[in-house]
Subunit: 284 residues, 2 copies
């Protein structure tokens, strides 16, 4: 087996949305911090699977003994950008016992009758869990802004509410990782056409995708505004170039790995006397 090509610069540094970040200048084709090709990326992804699942198991184990740490990965993107692929190819290797996956669709009538964070609160990860949001509370400042479903004042209120909500999560032990998968408008066209060319993918195609595509620039503006308002040190945004699916996957894997490593997890110490228990088992 050939050597594994690692990142030269960590995505946690290169992809983080800081002061002055401009989405317009972010290149969806780029592979920041990584000089390998597709095959290298796929090998790296597979190579780190085991590490990811081991860390996740440790996170889960800690919580059985009172640990309060947890992870929340928020995935946002334009249609076809590859959220599903991230979930399937990066996160699905983890133990389902320790993963809380939640896809947020258009809100139900009941959900609409509450504040926008009501349904989000119900889906946050419990201690020890890795939560994954496929879309999230950010829809309420993205599609809602694009279509002017909210006043500027309400939009402002939502940004503030989101910041307070996320601050509360991190204060309670949650590491929040917010990822925007950044594809180009041309790449989306190619992927929509590919869906139409494959009968096994027709079910994923909806006329609604085209309708939102017509608002591409408005969405980019809404993302930029969301980054400006809500990328905070305690809950930063990462804009991940996603025209190359393999790159987006290894980049997100690195972000989750870094978050888990930063937690300095340890296997819980035995609260029993091992030799005595051994003896009891032997005799049983």
């Amino acid at each position: 087996m050939a050597g594994i090509v690692e990142f030269e610069k960590h995505p946690a540094d290169t992809l983080k949305v800081g002061k002055g970040f401009s989405l317009a200048k972010a290149d969806p084709d780029a592979t920041p911090g990584y000089s390998g090709n597709k095959a290298d990326g796929e090998a790296l992804l597979a190579d780190l699977d085991g590490k990811l699942t081991a860390l996740q198991e440790m996170l889960f184990a800690e919580s059985r003994f009172g640990g309060r740490k947890r992870i929340l990965l928020v995935l946002q993107a334009m249609d076809t950008a590859g959220k599903g692929g991230i979930v399937n190819h990066v996160m699905a290797t983890m133990d389902p016992q320790g993963v809380q996956f939640k896809a947020f669709k258009a809100p139900t009538e009941e959900e609409k009758s509450y504040d926008f964070l009501w349904r989000i609160e119900k889906a946050v990860p419990a201690a020890g869990m890795v939560g994954i949001f496929d879309r999230s509370h950010y829809e309420d400042v993205l599609i809602h802004k694009v279509h002017n479903w909210v006043t500027p004042e309400e939009l402002k209120r939502r940004y503030r509410a989101i910041n307070e909500f996320e601050r509360r999560q991190t204060d309670a032990g949650t590491t929040v990782i917010k990822v925007m998968l950044n594809i180009s408008k041309d790449e989306q066209k190619a992927r929509l056409l590919a869906r139409l060319d494959d009968p096994a993918k027709h079910w994923k195609y909806s006329g609604g995708d085209l309708k939102e595509r017509a608002f591409w620039q408005d969405y980019m503006d809404a993302y930029q505004a969301a980054f400006d308002e809500t990328s905070k040190d305690h809950a930063p945004w990462y804009v991940v170039p996603a025209n190359k699916k393999w790159y987006a996957r290894i980049a997100v894997q690195q972000l989750v790995l870094a978050a888990l490593s930063d937690l300095r997890l340890e296997w819980p110490k035995a609260e029993f006397d091992v030799p005595i228990e051994r003896e009891l088992v032997e005799r049983s």
Copy 2:
């Protein structure tokens, strides 16, 4: 790559609990219907991963267009029998979007204040989903019977309630697969000792395991009674020999694959005119 060794007789036939089944006569070391070895089994498992995920995606896709089919896999076993391994190595390859995993622990005070099926009903899979129960409503006729927490009358009521409950699920489009992973008492001892020998596994060890182990034969009797009362054509039990973990995994994979195949799934037909949509995307 060497050729794949397939099953000669399908586990859906060889492992099904029918009239006159005797758990006492079931060999936990056996590999019914399969002549391959561990390496063959692992290769078979990996080889069928793709088929399993494709069928599961089709099940999910159907439900987006009104399909009502779904799967419920119930896993029951003595401690250390390998439920977690089944979830991680067989089921975790599926798209988390289409999987509902639920581990039933000791009931909370709130859950205890309802009928035993109350918390179960809340966790049944939605249309298009593959549900996995790690333990289940069967705890209420297993541990409860073993420790005489219920009268014989109440036990009878529970069997009947379970049968009616499961019948309702299958009538609503659910394929119910009930699996008991069958390990021997000696094998459990070996696995408990292995846990004690590995600090990374201490968190999985609990003195409670030993306590229940002391009631081994009572548990076997309770399982036998549950099989006698609740293995029905519409919701059969399968007793899967589990001393060899690799065998248990390929056997359960076969059971789930067979259930999915029996549903005769198809990709939903496009409800739009493909050439027209292509043209619209091209121009967008």
